[in-house]
Symmetry: C2
Subunit: 146 residues, 2 copies
């Protein structure tokens, strides 16, 4: 199994970040502008990019500490069986977000693409929290010309 | 063992990217402004950030295809034994750069930090190639407040 991991430090309250990871309104500030279904454990969140995109089931919520999702449905196919987690850790004036997208079957070009793209979205989360200017899809920073 | 991987697509010639990965002048356009020692296989490149930083030995060069480095020396300590590779692949008008930093002993906070930071530097490489405006250290995009 293979794993994508990232870590950013954001100068804002842990509560604000937790809201940005657990509500439709918060998630649309940094990942994609089309999100529905966010809620308690067992909710299925639908992230859409021009109509298509992945579903994730919320499998663990520890307020201001941990958010875990499990891939649900069949799209994109390489994401089937993968899990995402966000671990929050306050350190002085900033809150660190440790992100993992794990359980990949293979270390493919697509996984490498997603790794870079996740970095872009985590920096979008940082900007959304610190300057109110996130770059959710379709305003995300392009990483190629596909 | 654990691995960081990324992939960006850059609209420029593969030759220009290969130069940016194999010469002091090219490397200073996107990673750090203080680089010396780049050259043929067995060269030891010294990447410096405010005086400190890693050394890498060039272990493989396939022109316009592959660049591989092996960590040399002792800093940062967690990088000892790790390897970096850049695989170049032309696809129409763009050249894809598949990056890996492998052979990590553990999936730590520091590895997650480096994963995000590598994404920032690969986007800097993309900008340096496409717009001549890379963001090498100390002008790199901050990912935390440390």
């Amino acid at each position: 199994m293979h794993e994508i991991s990232h870590r950013v430090g954001i100068k804002t309250s842990v509560d604000k970040i937790y809201q940005a990871l657990t509500t439709n309104e918060g998630l649309t500030k940094w990942w994609t502008n089309d999100i529905s279904g966010a809620g308690d454990v067992d909710s299925i969140i639908k992230f859409r990019f021009n109509g298509g995109g992945p579903d994730f089931k919320v499998i663990e919520l520890l307020p201001n500490k941990t958010v875990r999702w499990q891939h649900s449905g069949n799209m994109p196919e390489a994401w089937v069986g993968t899990e995402i987690s966000f671990q929050l850790h306050v350190d002085g004036e900033q809150t660190f977000v440790r992100f993992t997208h794990g359980n990949w079957q293979e270390s493919s070009d697509f996984m490498a693409h997603c790794s870079t793209k996740w970095a872009v979205f985590l920096l979008s989360l940082k900007d959304a929290m610190e300057t109110n200017q996130g770059r959710p899809f379709p305003n995300d920073i392009p990483i190629d010309h596909s």
